[in-house]
């Protein structure tokens, strides 16, 4: 393969991958007057935020299925509403379900049902949420900026640290102490301190371990919860579902990028990143085409970016070792069911289906589900986040029919026995678990699709099939995400940037990594 590249670069910036972060990054860069080209391997943009047909006439948000973390400022900046983003539902409620217990709404606004189970919990829930919300609000600026470096003499880094310190200090003594205490705690301990109802604790703990290879007893599991709340606080719509699924969000982002002057090519798979004089100089596509650019921004995950597209030969061994050890193996699967009628969950209020249902009856249940993932087995009794998007948006299925979209844990990437053989068994087992809460569901299934982590790896080109590109944990967060040396969106190779979920602050259809990366590039150039 030739690495030669002559003449002036064709573009200021090439963005590898048209996922939501890549599109956000492209839009911001194009708005700054740079010439930008987005290269997407798939036939449509969106990455893991797409809507596609999984059975004739049935459409679903294929990977991510809820929009709740994207900051309102980003949606306004890019004017996504004018570019077609409509929300079919906002402030979607969450309801805990269990086979042997009536459903329990867990939002603070439905305290009455909770009070019937436990007056103490109903009394504690609003204060618990309010406190976490205050702590989360203090953390939001941490998400929204490039992590400062440690130990440098730069005044920008130092003032950034002072700002973070000040923000936390402004919480006041009691909240600050609580933040420093619970920041590294396990979510089980936190919930045990506040509540007694197993169903409530299971569902609240669910959000802490969703998408991560951790159980409620894993130290540090409070932190993903705070992080999630911090982003939600800025979103303004809480849990939301775009009309047309998550793909509609990506389409609106693409329109915003195009309107700002960016070019987008789909069906264009990048094979290598070209390097000249220790700087990124462009890309080579699988068909051999070379496109030169002054900067290359990768929306791909860090392992793919550094080990496949760039190649370890350009990096020092310590850095390569870090990337190789980046924990990025997914434990989350996705199940799509095409149903011939609306599922009937026992005891569930009819309007609860506009929101999501959480099957995580107790923290012990969740922890036991996680136990199996540690040894390369899927959970025989999995935890599930269920939505029926067709309740809010009938356009996703033929008239009278419904789609059930479920996020399922734990389904480890490296499964003993292999997913090829076990996929069907796992899907059956999840349907059995749902059937226990919604009798008759099985008979209404017309078609199903299960995406295991290797399927997610293949379809969305995410190494390890991890939703967040890299495990979201304290040792892979903020100043050390994805690894030291690449935590400020720039990399050891000049002109090469990261903008995906593997960078701070991680995934979840947030878009902040894309925006932060664009800002980092502009600052570097300034």
């Amino acid at each position: 393969m030739t690495r030669a590249c002559t003449g002036a670069p064709s573009y200021d910036c090439i963005v590898i991958g048209g996922g939501h972060n890549g599109l956000v990054c492209a839009a911001y860069l194009a708005r700054s007057g740079r010439s930008v080209l987005v290269l997407e391997a798939a036939s449509q943009v969106g990455g893991a935020a797409i809507t596609r047909e999984f059975a004739p006439g049935f459409k679903v948000s294929a990977c991510a299925h809820l929009l709740h973390l994207m900051p309102g400022s980003l949606i306004r900046d890019l004017d996504l509403e004018a570019r077609g983003l409509r929300l079919a539902a906002t402030h979607m409620p969450s309801t805990a379900i269990a086979p042997d217990s009536p459903p329990l709404p867990i939002d603070a606004r439905d305290a009455a049902l909770l009070a019937a189970r436990s007056a103490a919990d109903a009394a504690a829930l609003p204060a618990y949420r309010a406190r976490l919300r205050r702590l989360a609000e203090a953390l939001y600026p941490v998400l929204d900026t490039a992590p400062p470096r440690l130990g440098t003499d730069s005044w920008q880094d130092r003032s950034a640290w002072l700002r973070i310190g000040w923000r936390i200090r402004r919480l006041g003594r009691r909240d600050m102490r609580e933040l420093l205490r619970i920041g590294g705690m396990c979510v089980q301990d936190l919930l045990d301190e506040h509540f007694e109802t197993p169903l409530l604790k299971g569902a609240l703990g669910f959000d802490a371990v969703l998408g991560t290879s951790a159980g409620p007893r894993s130290p540090g599991s409070v932190f993903p919860l705070l992080y999630r709340m911090a982003a939600e606080v800025q979103g303004g719509s809480a849990l939301a579902q775009p009309v047309g699924g998550l793909g509609a969000l990506s389409d609106s982002l693409a329109r915003a990028a195009l309107a700002a002057g960016a070019a987008i090519r789909t069906g264009a798979t990048v094979e290598r990143i070209m390097v000249r004089d220790d700087r990124a100089a462009g890309v080579i596509l699988t068909d051999g085409e070379q496109i030169s650019a002054a900067n290359v921004i990768s929306n791909a995950d860090p392992k793919t970016t550094f080990l496949q597209l760039l190649g370890g030969e350009y990096l020092d061994t310590g850095f390569v070792r870090r990337i190789a050890h980046l924990r990025a193996r997914g434990v989350t699967a996705k199940l799509h069911l095409a149903l011939n009628r609306l599922p009937q969950f026992t005891g569930l209020a009819p309007d609860a289906l506009v929101g999501r249902l959480l099957l995580a009856p107790s923290l012990d249940y969740v922890e036991r589900a996680f136990n199996h993932a540690k040894y390369g087995e899927f959970s025989p009794a999995p935890i599930v986040e269920i939505t029926v998007p067709t309740v809010n948006d009938a356009s996703l299925a033929p008239a009278g029919r419904h789609v059930l979209s479920a996020v399922v844990q734990y389904a480890p990437y490296e499964l003993a026995g292999g997913w090829q053989h076990e996929r069907a068994r796992f899907a059956e087992l999840v349907i059995d678990a749902l059937e226990r809460c919604a009798p008759g569901l099985r008979h209404s299934v017309e078609a199903l699709e299960l995406l295991s982590p290797p399927d997610i790896e293949r379809e969305f080109r995410i190494s390890g099939g991890h939703w967040h590109h890299a495990e979201l944990a304290l040792d892979q967060f903020f100043i050390v995400r994805p690894v030291p040396g690449a935590a400020q969106y720039c990399t050891p190779i000049g002109g090469l940037y990261l903008c995906g979920a593997g960078s701070h602050p991680g995934g979840g259809v947030m878009g902040i990594a894309g925006r932060n990366a664009a800002r980092a590039l502009m600052r570097e150039a300034a």
Binding site: R149, G151, R169, R181, G184, C186, N371
Partner: protein, 534 residues
């Protein structure tokens, strides 16, 4: 044992554990009139030597001496009062397939041994050792310092925060990141960054879970690894070793040093209550009703015992009391002390290898260790437990009659609360059998050599030593309970919410192990408050 006088003392210390005695020594040396009260008829807390079987001396709680700070040994002249620490020369993990990994203190021998399992790991071991050494160097100066309150604007706290910041900054950028990661990683992930051989990882991972209710895959356990590693690195002085005469020798030397400074100790004197008058600690009442007055009261007990059992909740801020209730102290360890009729034969260990004189293990994979933890979570003792087994009588002949041996077996995991009801004699025996069977799998003649076995569950440890749930660290070593969070945010400076009252047990920074740092730091805080230089 010297009997203390009555009347008003400068300071009363509740509990004659090693930290209580260390604090007492420093206070007495500063000229205070100090009385130490101990509930049991013998002193030492969990650092004791007991004669529970004819001719044998058991270190029946703590069993190795590695963490005791060299500064404390020197300042209190413990060798002068009879403390002798005999280093041991490594250890061994026996594998289920009959193989083994021996660890030697001779570096070249150790490298050759690791290379037998993986050449790459032998190379990586150098990197591992270097990185651990760096982390040790970073953390050691922090052990004997009072943690700052990050929410406070007091000059002392700000100065201490600045010190911490500078100390951290001195590492340089890359090592700062390494440190952040090291503190937040799981031991399994950390070891994966160095080693490929399961047996090497399993051997090293053992010390990351000793005494904690966490598994090797739980984030934060890499730090616990360090907590046990610090002794290892000290070099000649204070290396991993046995106290000659058993662990009681540590507390006996401390007591002798204390008494030489004019302090007095009363054993068999259980404290019923700490007295508070006008918001100030004023003394204690013993179980027999006797009242003892003091300007300062220091508790060596864990925070739950101190504030929930021997203090009146009305004397404390209500929020503090609820935080104490939430302080995590989880029983996860058991112990067997065994008198043996001779040295058992372990076929996996080569004849003549010095590793038989060190710590012996039988957990040969991370998964086995993690599964042992899963059992604990379900409220049962590990079916295949992690054991840390030593026969110190090979090095210290005072512990057993000639030709016979004392074996100390530390067992992880063993829950305080069993899923199927309270501990009783039958369950204790069943637990002991599990451990003995585990050892016997690796030693065919082991069972025949057993003369006597003392089986100790967390419940027994709690009842005899007074450690809540039998937790050997007086509180879990997790992020939420370390440094300025230990034991309670805002009260990490050894001072209780009541004036004149202090905490000096392992519930305080930097935590457990026979380290003595909490005792020394508490004494420092008291002397500063009294306006005396430490």
């Amino acid at each position: 044992m010297v009997s203390g006088g009555s009347g008003r003392h400068d300071a009363i210390i509740v509990g004659a554990g090693h930290n209580g005695l260390v604090a007492a020594c420093y206070l007495a040396r500063a000229g205070l009139d100090v009385l130490v009260l101990e509930r049991n008829p013998y002193i030492g807390g969990a650092a004791v030597s007991r004669r529970l079987y004819d001719g044998f001396t058991y270190s029946n709680c703590s069993y190795v001496c590695s963490l005791l700070r060299t500064e404390i040994i020197r300042e209190l002249d413990l060798p002068g009062y009879g403390l002798q620490i005999i280093p041991y020369e490594g250890g061994c993990t026996m594998m289920r397939d009959g193989g083994h990994l021996a660890l030697y203190d001779n570096h070249d021998a150790l490298r050759r041994e690791i290379a037998r399992h993986s050449k790459r790991d032998a190379e990586s071991y150098e990197r591992y050792l270097r990185d651990m050494l760096r982390q040790c160097r970073f953390i050691k100066p922090l052990l004997l310092r009072e943690p700052p309150d990050p929410t406070s604007f007091k000059p002392r706290d700000i100065m201490e925060l600045l010190y911490l910041g500078k100390h951290f900054h001195r590492l340089g950028e890359q090592r700062m990141y390494d440190t952040v990661r090291f503190w937040t990683m799981s031991c399994a992930d950390f070891l994966d960054e160095y080693f490929e051989s399961e047996i090497v990882k399993a051997h090293l991972a053992g010390s990351s879970i000793i005494g904690t209710a966490l598994g090797p895959r739980s984030p934060g356990t890499a730090y616990v690894l360090l907590h046990h590693y610090m002794g290892n690195i000290d070099g000649a002085v204070g290396a991993w070793g046995f106290a000659r005469g058993g662990m009681g020798a540590v507390t006996q030397a401390l007591a002798a040093s204390f008494q030489a400074s004019g302090g007095s100790i009363r054993s068999g004197a259980p404290v019923d209550r700490i007295l508070v008058r006008n918001g100030r600690a004023s003394g204690v009442v013993l179980d027999n009703g006797e009242e003892l007055q003091a300007r300062i009261v220091v508790s060596n007990l864990d925070v739950r015992r101190t504030f929930l059992e021997i203090m009146d909740a009305n004397d404390l801020p209500p929020e503090f009391v609820s935080q104490v209730r939430n302080f995590k102290i989880r029983g996860s360890s058991g112990k067997l002390n065994i008198a043996l009729d001779g040295l058992p034969h372990f076929p996996a260990i080569p004849h003549g290898s010095p590793s038989i004189r060190g710590d012996l293990h039988v957990t040969d994979s991370i998964e086995m260790l993690e599964r042992a933890y899963d059992d604990w979570k379900e409220g049962r003792w590990s079916r295949a437990p992690y054991i840390d087994m030593l026969m110190p009588s090979q090095i210290d002949p005072t512990l057993a009659p000639a030709g016979k041996h004392y074996m100390s077996v530390f067992v992880q995991y063993c829950p305080y609360k069993l899923a199927d009801g309270a501990w009783d004699a039958a369950k204790r025996q069943a637990f002991g059998r599990t451990v003995i069977d585990t050892i016997a799998e690796h030693s065919p003649d082991f069972k025949d050599l057993i003369l006597h076995a003392e089986i100790r569950t967390p419940w027994d440890l709690e009842n005899e030593v007074g450690l809540t749930e039998g937790n050997i660290f007086q509180g879990e070593l997790t992020f939420d309970q370390l440094l300025f969070n230990r034991p309670i945010p805002g009260y990490a400076q050894y001072r209780a919410p009541v004036r004149g009252m202090y905490m000096c047990g392992s519930s305080t920074h930097p935590g457990g192990g026979v380290m003595g740092a909490p005792g020394a730091n508490a004494a420092g805080a008291i002397l500063r408050d009294l306006g005396r230089a430490h």
